[in-house]
């Protein structure tokens, strides 16, 4: 298939990767990847990474802390995320809300995110204001004050957040239930936002304790992407973050360890708001941090072939050929500290039962495990993944995200920027092996979201009635 070869050759050539065409197949020869980001450390241990993107006079400034929801101790679920909210309250120098207000007045936007493994704070703003952002971010790294009344109000906001993003959405509820079954012991089983009954117990004291223990330059990574040079960032970082004292004896406590998984589990959620029957299956898999070299890339290729878009096997066989599903696909969540997951999902076609849907998925997976990918599928999937690596660079925030999310779990710039070559080295045998090893029901949870038909019809009828006033 000459076109696939040309396309991957084209995609790779623009990345500066040498590709030798030999007998119609791309062969991976001596590769000299282009280096984009550079890094250095401050004397206090803070890691700094600069990612040039000079197309607009804008910078993305992000501080990542190596602490997240999976570092909360039992009974304090949601604490890391709660602290993230409280980080916008007053410090010795900043009034409550001032950081965001200053950023807004300068024409910027800011926000923060907590994951299981990390917490990060970012501002996107015109480049001439980078110093202001760094000064304020450095200030709240060690100088947070918390006032009881503000803590109490913000706790209400988080309770409402949980209701908006989880309790109002059946798929989000099912997702929580599946995670809680998938991990028998590891804290990835606990939602980052916290369990409903535990959020009200989060206090000012707990938040401050967590803050004092984990928020320090020697537990943080600074990412600056945009129209800046390494020299500029170095000077600004030394003048701001460089003045924050490191925390002596900072240790991230070891997390509970997942025991061997010996039995497939099932979760069924019945909800009048569900709409359509759907299935979500999650398998335990290694992450880019825990996998053997090349293994995570092979899983990425695997899920691309199985479930990325309308040409994928799941879509072709379940949606196009058999009409078992209205939609079907797969994804890999592989950028995590202690392990990843493979997700396979399908939305049932009209009148299709749970059993038929599951059998349909199992048939596609079973055949793939047995046969592995065709050479054409393999090359196509690799080419798509490499192209998406290129397209991501069009968005500065996504670019900064790519570096931060990987560096915070201990990967290196080389790991990130060698992605095209590493994907290129994945063989059909690697993919087949990954499928056999990780599409293993014994370490999986199969979840169903089931509409409760009667309640749904009744609610819909009522809706229409009321809407007419």
């Amino acid at each position: 298939m000459p076109e696939a070869v040309k396309a991957s050759g084209g995609a790779l050539a623009v990345l500066g990767v040498a590709v030798v065409l030999l007998a119609g197949q791309p062969t991976w020869s001596q590769t000299q990847p282009q280096r984009r980001a550079s890094e250095f450390s401050l004397a206090n241990g803070m890691q700094v990474v600069v990612v040039p993107d000079r197309r607009a006079p804008v910078v993305t400034h992000v501080v990542w802390y190596r602490v997240g929801g999976a570092d909360n101790i039992a009974g304090q679920s949601g604490l890391a995320h709660f602290l993230e909210h409280l980080m916008f309250k007053s410090t010795a120098r900043l009034k409550t809300g001032e950081l965001s207000n200053v950023v807004a007045r300068l024409g910027g936007r800011d926000n923060a995110v907590t994951t299981h493994d990390a917490t990060y704070y970012f501002q996107r703003l015109p480049k001439e204001h980078l110093q202001t952002a760094m000064t304020m971010e450095a200030d709240r790294m060690r100088n947070l004050k918390l006032v009881d009344q503000e803590v109490a109000t913000e706790r209400q906001v988080v309770i409402q957040e949980r209701r908006s993003v989880v309790d109002s959405k059946p798929l989000a509820i099912l997702d929580e239930l599946i995670s809680a079954s998938l991990y028998l012991n590891h804290p990835y089983r606990i939602p980052v936002i916290g369990w409903g009954p535990e959020i009200p117990k989060l206090s000012r004291e707990l938040a401050l304790e967590f803050y004092n223990r984990f928020y320090a330059p020697n537990n943080a990574i600074l990412i600056v992407a945009g129209d800046v040079t390494e020299g500029e960032v170095r000077k600004l970082a030394q003048d701001t973050f460089g003045r924050v004292r490191p925390l002596v004896g900072l240790v991230r406590p070891p997390r509970p360890v997942e025991p061997p998984q010996l039995a497939a589990r099932r979760v069924e959620l019945r909800d009048p708001r569900a709409g359509t029957l759907s299935m979500q299956r999650f398998y335990i898999a290694p992450s880019y941090k825990t996998a053997e070299p090349g293994e995570a890339e092979a899983i990425d290729v695997l899920v691309t072939i199985l479930g990325d878009g309308p040409t994928s096997r799941l879509y072709q066989q379940l949606v196009e050929e058999r009409s078992v599903a209205a939609n079907a696909g797969a994804s890999y969540s592989g950028v995590a500290l202690d392990g990843g997951t493979i997700n396979v999902y399908a939305v049932a076609g009209d009148g299709v039962t749970q059993g038929a849907l599951e059998q349909g998925i199992d048939a596609v997976l079973g055949q793939f495990i047995k046969e592995g990918p065709s050479q054409e599928e393999l090359e196509q999937a690799k080419s798509s993944l490499i192209a998406s690596y290129i397209y991501t660079a069009d968005n500065q925030a996504s670019l900064a995200q790519r570096y931060g999310a990987n560096l915070v779990i201990g990967r290196t710039i080389a790991d990130i920027e060698e992605r095209p070559e590493r994907l290129g080295r994945v063989s059909a045998a690697d993919v087949k092996k990954a499928a056999a090893k990780y599409l293993n029901l014994q370490s999986s949870v199969t979840g169903f979201l089931i509409p409760t038909a009667d309640a749904n019809a009744a609610a819909a009828g009522e809706k229409r009635g009321e809407a007419r006033r």
Partner: protein, 443 residues
């Protein structure tokens, strides 16, 4: 996340995210006005640093042009155009797109039918051939239509379980009775089932025509090459569309909140009234008013009163939105069922306070500098620049839209803001739609 990303502005307002702010640095882009040999106009920004070409385009159309009872036609057509065209079956088309690492997709809102195209520069010729096929000779294969219909039905039933979507749809329905804007944006189960292959073909023939085509291109391409590519893709379309007349319309005031019953601990309330047209001289001042009231910053009054001081919601906002034929000031909040009445009282009170007493000079300055300064964040990727250029054309602005917006916002004075707030923030005709089980709503 400390603040919600505003995809909470669901349904009819989804396209708004990047459009609150105008003004900004003219150096960010250098817009060329291009006319192809065949007469197709386009705005182009050359950007050589990535080997990518991005093209966005639109035709007048949208769901407002769908026949009665066939709501969902535009969306179905958008989903069908890349599922088989020319001699390529759906699978072959998708495969070819994948092989070329090209991205071809279509979309529709209430007023326009959109296309989006991205390709690696090395594959420009072959990728644009694919786009040409989708635009000119989609096969609209019956089996593919049934699959797509099933997906739309699944989505519709999912949306029936989404309180934000329900409240937005209800607000549109009660505010524009009898008008195309009152109808379901992506169709109802019944209307989706009623759409035939002929309906799709007829809609395509009526809408995809050269006169209302607008094009924005960004990336590694020069004006001559772009002109040739555009002639090749669009040259064979009919010159004139056949558009049904859509009347300009103002939202109707509904005195009592309309409740759509929805299970769960929270109610979503959508509130709104007449806004300010983009062509109106007060439009910029109205943007500043809305920013002070409920823009996406923690300084906004609604955010302060409802969230920061009282913890009654995770998200609350208000914004100005311009449809092609209507302008609205619209906002929303998600609060506990027992407290949503209180949130709405606070919101009404903030409308009144801002209308009667006006904002401080500092609030005006702060809102203006946010609106002016943050615009550059809408222009920092090829895709975003193309999107802004397309939107600006659809709003009838010129290629100097960046400088014009900035100048327009800079001219806004506190006196302007006070004057516009007085009329824009009248609460007597504020209409409210709620999805949830609210208690103690005031009459």
């Amino acid at each position: 996340m400390i603040r919600p990303v505003h995809n909470v502005i669901a349904g009819c307002l989804a396209a708004l995210a990047g459009m609150l702010a105008f003004g900004g640095s003219a150096s960010a882009t250098d817009v060329q006005h291009v006319r192809s040999p065949g007469g197709i106009a386009a705005w182009l920004v050359q950007e050589r640093s990535l080997p990518i070409v991005t093209i966005r385009f639109a035709f007048d159309g949208g769901s407002a042009q769908e026949p009665m009872g066939k709501e969902g036609t535009a969306g179905l057509l958008a989903a069908m155009l890349d599922q088989g065209a020319g001699s390529l079956s759906g699978a072959a088309y998708q495969k070819r797109m994948e092989t070329l690492a090209a991205r071809v997709s279509f979309d529709s809102d209430r007023d326009f039918f959109f296309g989006s195209f991205e390709t690696l520069t090395v594959n420009l010729g072959k990728s644009s051939e694919l786009l040409k096929l989708a635009v000119n000779s989609p096969t609209l294969e019956p089996a593919a239509l049934e699959r797509t219909r099933a997906q739309f039905l699944a989505r519709a039933s999912l949306e029936a379980g989404d309180s934000n979507k329900l409240a937005n749809a209800q607000w549109m329905a009660q505010s524009f009775p009898g008008h195309a804007y009152s109808r379901a944006l992506s169709g109802t189960p019944d209307s989706i089932k009623a759409v035939t292959r002929d309906d799709l073909a007829a809609y395509r023939t009526r809408i995809l025509a050269k006169r209302t085509l607008r094009v924005a291109a960004v990336g590694d391409i020069d004006a001559d090459t772009l002109g040739k590519v555009l002639d090749d893709i669009f040259g064979d379309l009919p010159a004139e569309p056949q558009l049904a007349t859509v009347a300009d319309v103002a939202p109707v005031a509904v005195p009592k909140p309309v409740v759509v019953k929805f299970e769960g601990p929270q109610s979503v309330a959508i509130f709104g009234r007449q806004g300010v047209a983009r062509s109106h001289p007060d439009h910029m001042a109205a943007l500043v008013v809305t920013q002070i009231l409920g823009g996406g910053t923690s300084e906004a009054r609604l955010v302060q009163e409802v969230r920061e001081k009282r913890g009654l919601a995770y998200w609350v906002y208000a914004l100005l939105y311009n449809f092609k034929h209507a302008s609205v000031l619209i906002g929303g909040v998600a609060s506990p069922n027992e407290e949503v009445a209180k949130s709405l009282d606070l919101i009404r009170n903030e409308f009144k306070r801002l209308a009667e007493k006006g904002p401080s000079q500092q609030e005006v300055d702060s809102a203006k500098s946010f609106l002016i300064g943050s615009y550059v964040l809408n222009l920092d990727s090829n895709a975003k620049i193309a999107e802004q250029m397309l939107r600006s054309q659809l709003q009838g602005l010129g290629p100097d839209f960046i400088a014009q917006r900035k100048a327009g916002l800079e001219r806004v004075t506190r006196a302007d803001v006070i004057r516009v707030a007085r009329s824009l923030l009248a609460t007597e005709d504020l209409s409210v739609a709620i999805a949830g089980q609210p208690t103690s709503l005031s009459p």
